[in-house]
């Protein structure tokens, strides 16, 4: 009897160990599964935000109210504002990057890099950066690291209507010379292919807004 109970206990302990091991393996699998679900959820949320943003603001008038832009491309020209109207109407089509100080650094760094390439390939397309830096030092560091060579203007956060919908992310949009903004896009460094797709297709707009290559 004692002999049988001994084997029973051994059996019970073995079962306990095997179950614990199985549970641990399952837990590890759940952790990686949760990571995948998080990634997919994040991607879905990004697409949804992008769609909402685009639908909400496409074909809006940029300059309903006068938007003051301070040219900070050179350190010495910080104080005299211009109306953004004068930038938009200079060319048939212009590309704007609204750069927000907080938000995804990698996303905006990648965007600057791609915009430089775009500018090299299509120098006829004016590209402007509108920043909302509240700290001049932070702006200087950003300019140093990104080696920005586009005209940069300071526009106070919230002064552009579209700022409300971007969830603190930097965004791109096109304008035509009637001051209509369209083709909004929020770059995401985790989905850089989508940014390539966006920039490549700037030149495939309908004739109304189209940019002639």
């Amino acid at each position: 009897m004692t002999y049988l109970s001994f084997f029973g206990v051994i059996f019970f302990l073995s079962w306990l160990l095997i179950t614990a091991k199985k549970l641990d393996t399952q837990r590890r699998q759940n952790v990686s599964l949760n990571d995948s679900i998080r990634y997919v959820n994040g991607a879905n949320r990004y697409y949804l935000d992008l769609m909402e943003f685009k639908m909400k603001y496409s074909n809006s008038l940029v300059n309903k109210d006068e938007i003051k832009a301070y040219d900070i491309s050179r350190d010495t020209a910080k104080s005299i504002p211009i109306n953004i109207h004068s930038l938009i109407t200079r060319s048939r089509q212009s590309l704007f990057l609204r750069y927000t100080e907080i938000g995804c650094n990698e996303c905006s760094s990648l965007t600057i890099k791609k915009l430089k390439q775009l500018s090299q390939d299509h120098p006829e397309l004016p590209i402007y950066v509108l920043t909302d830096f509240t700290n001049y030092d932070a702006y200087l560091q950003w300019r140093k690291l990104a080696e920005v060579n586009f005209p940069v203007f300071y526009v106070k956060k919230g002064e552009i209507t579209f700022d409300e919908g971007c969830n603190e992310y930097s965004y791109l949009f096109l304008t035509d010379n009637r001051e209509i903004a369209y083709d909004f896009f929020i770059p995401n460094s985790q989905m850089s292919g989508l940014l390539d797709y966006y920039l490549n297709n700037i030149y495939k707009q309908p004739a109304e807004h189209g940019f002639k290559n």
């Binding site: 009897m1 049988l4 206990v9 949320r45 650094n105 030092d137 560091q141 969830n167």
Partner: protein, 428 residues
């Protein structure tokens, strides 16, 4: 088979006792010891530091205790620049600078400010780093780089040669990891928003301070909190650890205590008591719990962070802690509307409240004529408190007739170190 079942069902009383003592009790004891071994208490052995922040002056002239001020320009090297300094460490003959935000790069500079090397950076093959946001220099002047995406530490010797990698088996996420002086163990700090409870599946309560073995496995948990507070948008600072003699000081936002960690124990070493806006010891229960749903992180929306600032409005928290044999430099922030206002305190050890200086900016208005930026590091070898700022900020901080202006050209977007030696008479 039937016989075995019958045997199990009708074990004699004496057999049951043997069964119990031989198997059930040891198992229970093992389980209990595992559980209690992971949980440990923090001992109270603290000294109160009273900081009068009821009316803080904008500047305070401390020229009477300033021995020397030196400026050092950190060289800008193409493609190896930094855009933000989160942590600064002084080695024997070099400075280590960590940029966890703009470039995720850790650079070393010679004592004359020349670029020495990039110790590690994300996305570079020989670094093998996925996400480096933290670094620590221990008492042996070894540089420990923490890659939280891989739960990996890379240790460089004092000559900045790669010594070894340690990769943990579990992917816990910490904000900062440091080594415990005189030991091969480490300690990790995780704020409430790091999902550590999720990563530590099966463990009952998450913790903010974990003792880790030399292989980065979890040994003991300190500063546990209820799972309901996990994922709140609490702020964290660039540094949480400071090595002082054979101890490691630990500090964090919202917590009035400065802890001391050594080989054998964790103790509350100092309690900071601000005259205005002191955070309560039970910050989570009294400040956060009534607004829990508003301060939980919700996707990438900023509303939870804004809520934290709202509910912390008027409170003051420690931010950085530096300590020499005779002085403590404490930087603090007061939450004000949707931002914070910073100030510094210099505490002369052993002099109580009388030896405490508080100001938004400490200045030397007589000899060197400079307003000091917030100190970020203490170099025990040279006995210097070290601050950093950009050239643009330095120009504003130097008085027009400062003799330091003549010593070098100041470039707006370069980083500069401001090294200050302070003396205190009759400190003990």
């Amino acid at each position: 088979m039937n016989r075995a079942v019958i045997t199990f069902s009708f074990i004699k009383p004496i057999g049951r006792s043997i069964f119990f003592f031989l198997w059930v009790l040891p198992i229970a004891m093992i389980l209990f010891s595992c559980s209690s071994n992971e949980r440990a208490e923090i001992t109270d052995n603290y000294v109160e530091l009273h900081i009068d922040n009821s009316s803080i002056s904008d500047t305070l002239d401390i020229s009477s205790i300033v021995d020397s001020v030196e400026l050092l320009k950190l060289a800008n090297v193409p493609n190896k620049q930094i855009g933000y300094i989160g942590q600064l460490y002084a080695l024997e003959d070099a400075y280590v600078v960590v940029d966890p935000i703009s470039t995720k790069r850790i650079n070393a500079y010679k004592s004359n400010g020349d670029y020495l090397k990039t110790i590690m950076e994300n996305g570079v093959s020989d670094s093998n780093a996925l996400n480096i946001t933290d670094c620590y220099v221990n008492e042996r002047k070894e540089v420990i780089v923490y890659d939280y995406a891989q739960m990996k530490l890379t240790i460089f010797d004092s000559d900045l040669k790669r010594k070894k990698d340690i990769k943990g088996g579990n992917l816990f996420h910490y904000n900062h990891i440091a080594s415990i002086p005189g030991s091969d163990n480490f300690v990790g700090y995780a704020s409430y928003n790091n999902s550590n409870a999720y990563l530590q599946t099966g463990r009952r309560s998450p913790s903010s301070l974990d003792l880790l073995s030399d292989t980065l496995s979890l040994v003991r948990k300190y500063l546990r909190y209820s799972k309901k507070f996990e994922n709140i948008a609490a702020i964290t600072f660039d540094k949480s650890f400071f090595a002082f003699r054979d101890s490691l000081r630990f500090f964090r936002a919202y917590d009035p205590y400065v802890y001391s960690i050594n080989k054998s124990e964790v103790e509350r070493r100092y309690k900071i008591i601000y005259s205005k806006g002191n955070f309560p010891s039970d910050f989570l229960e009294s400040v956060i719990r009534p607004h829990l749903s508003n301060v939980k992180i919700n996707g990438h929306k900023m509303s939870s962070l804004k809520s934290i600032y709202l509910y912390c409005n008027g409170y003051t928290s420690q931010k950085n802690w530096l300590e020499s044999d005779s002085l403590i430099y404490l930087s603090s922030i007061s939450f004000k509307e949707q931002g914070t206002v910073g100030f510094g305190s210099l505490v002369v050890k052993g002099k109580g409240t009388a030896g405490t200086l508080v100001a938004r900016n400490f200045v030397d208005a007589k000899k060197f004529k400079v307003s000091f930026p917030e100190f970020s590091e203490y170099d025990s070898k040279s006995n210097q408190f070290i601050a950093f700022c950009t050239g643009n900020e330095l120009k504003r901080r130097l008085y027009n007739d400062s003799p330091l202006r003549k010593k070098m050209d100041i470039i707006d977007d370069c980083f500069y170190l401001v090294k200050v030696r302070l003396h205190v008479k009759d400190s003990h």
